[in-house]
């Protein structure tokens, strides 16, 4: 069971090598070469191979829009009649982030295509392009939790209220009854309690 994908992959690789070599040889008689490659979308394995709606909207772009091509059902693409030199291939697939690929098409040994991912400078043996990561365009809503409610400004306000309501009487109870009475007397004599009286210094002066 485990060995099958490996074999399949190998087979694909060898197929790809073969095709790229042979095709390039065949067409290099003209003034250009052919770049063959393949785009693999990773999640296709999970959701079953061939999600046509998604695959059909993938574009492969050569040199910043000079040429645009599309994927065949098996994920392969090709650019024909490309002059020798260094080129840049970008993959435009909504929901995926692809690194652009630097592709060197050499005139000296035709058919040899050298590819490097420009994002991480990783060389590619075959032109098989895979997304670096999937892209999530939306924020994910946090599921409902008591904490989020408590942390909200309203929650904090309520919390403060609770603290004042239930803890303050406790504090009052802990106060010395005599001190309490003195304070009440003071309040009565002064009428309106002022801030100065509450301060220890002010109390001492009076």
């Amino acid at each position: 069971m485990r060995s099958t994908p490996v074999i399949l992959l190998l087979l694909l690789h060898s197929l790809l090598c073969f095709s790229s070599l042979s095709l390039s040889h065949a067409i290099s008689a003209g003034d250009g070469y052919t770049i063959n490659g393949r785009v693999k979308l990773r999640s296709m394995g999970a959701q079953g191979f061939g999600l046509p709606g998604k695959l059909s909207n993938v574009k492969v772009i050569l040199n910043g829009g000079q040429r645009v091509t599309f994927l065949r059902p098996d994920g392969y693409f090709s650019f024909h009649n490309v002059p020798a030199g260094t080129h840049l291939i970008e993959v435009d697939a909504i929901g995926y982030f692809f690194s652009p690929v630097r592709v060197d098409v050499s005139a000296r040994n035709p058919g040899k295509v050298q590819a490097t991912l420009t994002e991480n400078r990783r060389g590619l043996n075959e032109l098989v392009l895979e997304p670096l990561r999937e892209e999530q365009y939306y924020e994910i809503r946090e599921p409902f939790s008591i904490m989020s409610l408590v942390k909200s400004p309203m929650g904090l306000m309520m919390g403060f209220m609770v603290v004042v309501m239930f803890l303050m009487p406790k504090l009052m109870e802990n106060m010395d009854p005599e001190e309490m009475r003195r304070a009440q007397e003071e309040m009565r004599s002064q009428g309106v309690p002022s801030l100065a009286n509450m301060l220890p210094g002010g109390a001492a002066r009076s």
């Binding site: 067409i27 910043g64 059902p73 009649n81 080129h87 924020e139």
Partner: protein
């Protein structure tokens, strides 16, 4: 002042948040709208089998291949091909593949009809591209030829005839005509025959026919005949054995019978045929089987071809009209559609090819005249319930819109003109009048509360799927955003867009609906104006103070031809009613339009039109305008860029025009010029500040309580030049022979403020200039990656103003007038970063007062719009910022700019064929509207530093209410409790 400080404080607080733009999935469509278009249809093929959905496959001038629902006009699928991959032909093969030929006949692709997945692609090799293309505009494709059991596609392009299998795209055989010196005009395969006829001209007076075996491609026979009079233009296949062409003098019609043993010609003089001389004849390419349509200026003449090449006029039509191809339906009958304009209505006639006099179908359809004339007609048949044949017709109008006519009415229409927007401006909506209460109370309190409880449930993730649907519906329906009056926040505006077809649309920013549209009469083809093109739109009259009763209006500038020196046209359009107020055909050309920052007493903006001779013309042409203008005469400067010659020139006004008696015309003189050496530098991009940009403060407080002064000038110009060797094909130049040089130039004095060279870099360059900085995107050949650089420019002449003591003593120069002639000392800082993707457009957010921090809007190669905080492009970023710098908000330096998926303004949508991004400030300082246009349109509202000055849409009023109620309840409960306790105390 306090409010400002408070706002700034808030800003600092808010800017610590990572990205200003992000969206929950259920907020899609709340602040944004997206419209999908395809462009002006070139070809249409119907697919109306008895079973399954009825569709029409179209290709357009925007290089779009799409499949549309014939019932509702919605797009099933759509592909936008590359910019130089124009579609030449479209057809359907095997009943399941859409075949397209593109790139001048070199790429053949097959698409799966139901879902648009590409099935195969083949590259057709051509040898001699230039020669055959010159004579055959639009290559010839013939599809659906039965050869054995395999469907074969025949393609003629670039001198080759290819036979391609429609199953897998393999080339079965090809035949090279490029060696035969023949210009192939037509490829004909009569039905039920294995012989393909390739007919064409050798030189101008010899006609050749090649017969080719359709199975193998081998040449069966070659016939040739000389026609001493010569041919003009193309040949048209009238019947299966008859061709028609014009002779070299264009006064005779020549019929060619090519399938007999000998090729025979028959010549008929046109004036003899028609009766009078009508002008130059043009054979229309419609295939009408037995009939040909010839156009003389405005007259359309139908001529029947009888046996032995005899011709006979069957009808003359004086109205503007268009004809479809013939369509064969039951029992080999053929019909075609003729669409005419008859006094405001359009008349659709379906005629049978063999019987001209009887009209199979005649329908008159009233039509909104804003669509213009009919340009193309495509016909399709269907079987009615009573088993008779009915016809439906797809028509393409002058303004690019697409309409389906059936049973005497317009079934649907698509405003495809909006796929090719040239310029955008805005107009405010009318103010809500007193007494007319538009904001009526629609819901009672209970419903209002219910809605908010639902919303609360939504935010707390307690809502069931049905509830979510209700919430979504409620949000989208909120009539607030699509009202026709001005709102407090300035979110509701009119977008005035000019399209390539010369049509002006007003779109509502709330929901994107078309308020009015106007096919500008001055931009339509007329006798004096042969090829009119629209150039740009400007705000002409923006009433706000003393001209409140006037409606705002816009100015549309256009030109009567493709060249710079063609005479211009101006049109003034009321933005509330959509009526043209005035139109001017100009005697001079329009090379540049400069909106001046002055208005007259009716709030009309003064505009200066520069013609190709560098003369300036003032509009509006009133004496009041002249008076205002004379006062500012010596303060008006402008520049011109001649990219081909590599020259930038500065101009100033000199005097009234000499020779012409026109007090609104002024001569100009060149103040300065910068000539770039043509062997080493070539101008590829320029950028300047947006005229309406507002800068809040010149000072920038940096980490250690220090102040820097931004160099802020409206006359700053960014110019990028590259090595001429590197301007050609991508991938060709080596890093050693390519460089990019950027300049910052003052356009009044011509002083180069800054010059910088990027070695080993090449274009394309996209740049945006705002406040005191410029950001540009280019390609680094050495790293083989794209890069973005920023240059910030600071004014040093004000640097000593930092000293508080000097300010107190009065020794500062803050009040000294700023003159560009004083040559202030400047300092620049710059930094470069890698950026992963290619860029199609670059813009920057703009807000009402310029307080909110800026975001760059990057139109990526994937047709998305990415918002990137300007703080990522700050030249003061360093690897290890100090604590003070961190507090200021400086991000540690990284070699590449981050692409955060949540900061895509377009979220999971694409603006296919993205061409431009326009930002529009709203009255609410934190918010800006972003309008991206291409083949699609997209508008959203973003807040680069979050909405710090208003509550967000999903603010939960219910939660607030709930809290208040709970607090009041708590107060009462505690009050009662304390009363009780007090009573108990007293009893004790």
């Amino acid at each position: 002042m306090d409010i400002r400080v408070f706002l700034l404080l808030l800003l600092v607080l808010v800017s610590s948040v990572e990205h200003g733009f992000s969206l929950y999935e259920d907020q899609v469509g709340l602040m944004d709208w997206h419209q999908r278009y395809i462009g002006k249809v070139k070809h249409a093929v119907f697919h109306t089998q008895k079973t399954g959905r009825k569709r029409v496959v179209v290709s357009t001038e925007e290089n779009v291949v799409a499949s549309l629902d014939l019932r509702h006009a919605e797009i099933f699928w759509r592909h936008v091909l590359g910019t130089n991959d124009a579609v030449d032909a479209v057809d359907i093969a095997l009943g399941k593949y859409v075949i397209t030929l593109s790139s001048e006949g070199s790429i053949l692709r097959a698409w799966n009809l139901p879902d648009g997945q590409m099935v195969w692609e083949s590259f057709l090799q051509g040898s001699n591209p230039s020669k055959s293309l010159l004579s055959v505009p639009g290559s010839i494709v013939q599809i659906n030829l039965k050869v054995d059991k395999d469907n074969v596609i025949l393609v003629f392009s670039k001198g080759f005839l290819h036979a391609v299998s429609s199953i897998d795209g393999d080339v079965l055989w090809d035949k090279d005509f490029s060696a035969e010196s023949i210009e192939v005009q037509q490829i004909i395969q009569p039905p039920e025959s294995y012989v393909i006829y390739a007919v064409g001209f050798v030189g101008s007076s010899q006609f050749d026919v090649y017969q080719i075996n359709a199975k193998s491609g081998e040449l069966l026979k070659h016939k040739s005949a000389a026609f001493p009079d010569g041919f003009y233009g193309e040949v048209l296949l009238v019947s299966s054995d008859m061709l028609v062409s014009l002779d070299a003098t264009r006064s005779n019609l020549v019929t060619i019978s090519f399938r007999k043993e000998e090729i025979s010609f028959s010549k008929t003089h046109i004036s003899y045929l028609v009766g009078e001389s009508l002008g130059i004849p043009v054979i229309l390419p419609s295939k009408l089987s037995g009939i040909l349509a010839v156009k003389f200026n405005t007259l359309l003449v139908f001529i029947r071809v009888k046996s032995e090449g005899k011709l006979e006029v069957v009808d003359k039509i004086a109205n503007a009209a268009a004809v479809s191809d013939a369509l064969s339906f039951s029992e080999g009958q053929q019909a075609f559609a003729l669409v005419e304009h008859v006094d405001g209505k359009i008349l659709l006639t379906v005629k049978l090819s063999h019987d001209w006099n009887s009209d199979f179908l005649k329908e008159s359809i009233a039509m909104d005249h804003q669509w213009g004339l009919v340009q193309k007609v495509f016909i399709n048949t269907y079987i009615r319930t009573d088993r008779s044949h009915g016809f439906r017709v797809l028509i393409v109008m002058e303004d690019h819109s697409l309409l389906l006519l059936q049973q005497g009415e317009i079934v649907w229409s698509r405003e495809e003109g909006l796929a090719s927007i040239i310029d955008v401006t805005t107009s405010e909506l009318p103010v809500e009048k007193k007494g007319v209460s538009v904001a009526k109370v629609e819901q009672n309190l209970f419903e209002w509360l219910k809605g908010h409880v639902l919303k609360l449930k939504g935010t707390l993730m307690l809502a069931s799927p049905e509830d979510i649907a209700v919430i979504q519906d409620m949000r989208l329906k909120s009539s607030e955003k699509s009202k026709m009056t001005r709102d407090h926040n300035g979110f509701r505006k009119l977008l005035i867009v000019l399209t390539r077809a010369g049509k002006l649309y007003a779109l509502h920013t709330g929901d994107g609906r078309v308020i009015w549209s106007l096919l500008l009469p001055s931009l339509r083809k007329s006798g004096s104006c042969k090829h009119p093109t629209g150039l740009s739109v400007y705000q002409w009259q923006v009433p706000h103070h003393h001209a409140m009763d006037e409606n705002p209006s816009v100015l549309v500038a256009g030109r009567c031809g493709p060249h710079w020196d063609a005479p211009g046209v101006l049109s003034f359009v009321d933005t509330y009613t959509g009526k043209e107020l005035n139109a001017l055909g100009l005697t001079h050309s329009v090379a540049q339009v400069i909106p001046l920052p002055f208005t007259d007493s009716t709030e009309q903006h003064l505009h200066l039109l520069i013609d190709s001779d560098q003369c300036a013309h003032l509009y509006p042409r009133t004496s009041e305008a002249i008076g205002i203008f004379q006062r500012e005469f010596s303060n008006i400067y402008w520049y011109s860029v001649e990219a081909d010659n590599g020259i930038i020139k500065g101009h100033a006004l000199r005097s009234n025009c000499i020779g012409v008696v026109d007090e609104y015309c002024f001569n100009s003189s060149d103040l300065w010029s910068i000539v770039f050496p043509s062997e080493s530098e070539k101008i590829i991009a320029t950028a300047t500040r947006k005229l309406n940009e507002v800068v809040h403060t010149q000072a920038k407080v940096i980490a250690d309580q220090d102040v820097m002064f931004k160099y802020i000038s409206k006359n700053l110009l960014f110019v990028a030049t590259i090595a001429p060797k590197a301007s050609g094909e991508f991938g060709k130049p080596t890093p050693e022979e390519s460089w990019l040089v950027v300049y910052l130039i003052d356009t009044v004095t011509g002083r180069i403020l800054h010059r910088m060279t990027h070695h080993g870099s090449q274009g394309p360059v996209h740049a945006v200039l705002s406040e005191n900085w410029v950001v540009y995107h280019y390609f680094n050949l050495r790293a083989h990656r794209y890069e973005m650089s920023v240059i910030e420019i600071y004014d040093l002449s004000r640097a000593e103003n930092k000293d508080v003591w000097k300010l107190l003593v009065g020794k500062h120069n803050l009040t000294s007038p700023i003159s560009l002639y004083s040559r202030p000392e400047v300092m620049t800082k710059s930094q470069s970063y890698f950026f992963t993707q290619s860029v199609k457009a670059l813009a920057v957010t703009s807000t009402a007062k310029g307080i909110t921090s800026k975001q760059l809007l990057i139109g990526t190669i994937g047709d998305q719009v990415l918002a990137l905080d300007k703080r990522y492009l700050d030249p003061r970023r360093s690897v290890n910022p100090t604590q003070a710098e961190k507090e200021e908000g400086i991000i540690p330096l990284s070699d590449s700019l981050p692409i955060i998926p949540q900061s895509y303004v377009t979220h999971a949508l694409k603006v296919e064929g993205l061409r431009g991004i326009v930002t529009l400030p709203t009255k609410l300082e934190s918010t800006t509207l972003v309008f991206a246009h291409g083949v699609d349109l997209f508008l959203t509202r973003i807040a680069p530093s979050r909405t710090y000055d208003s509550l967000t849409e999903d603010f939960s009023y219910a939660l607030l209410l709930l809290t208040i109620v709970a607090l009041i309840a708590a107060i009462f409960v505690t009050w009662v409790l304390s009363e009780k306790k007090e009573l108990q105390e007293k009893w004790r």
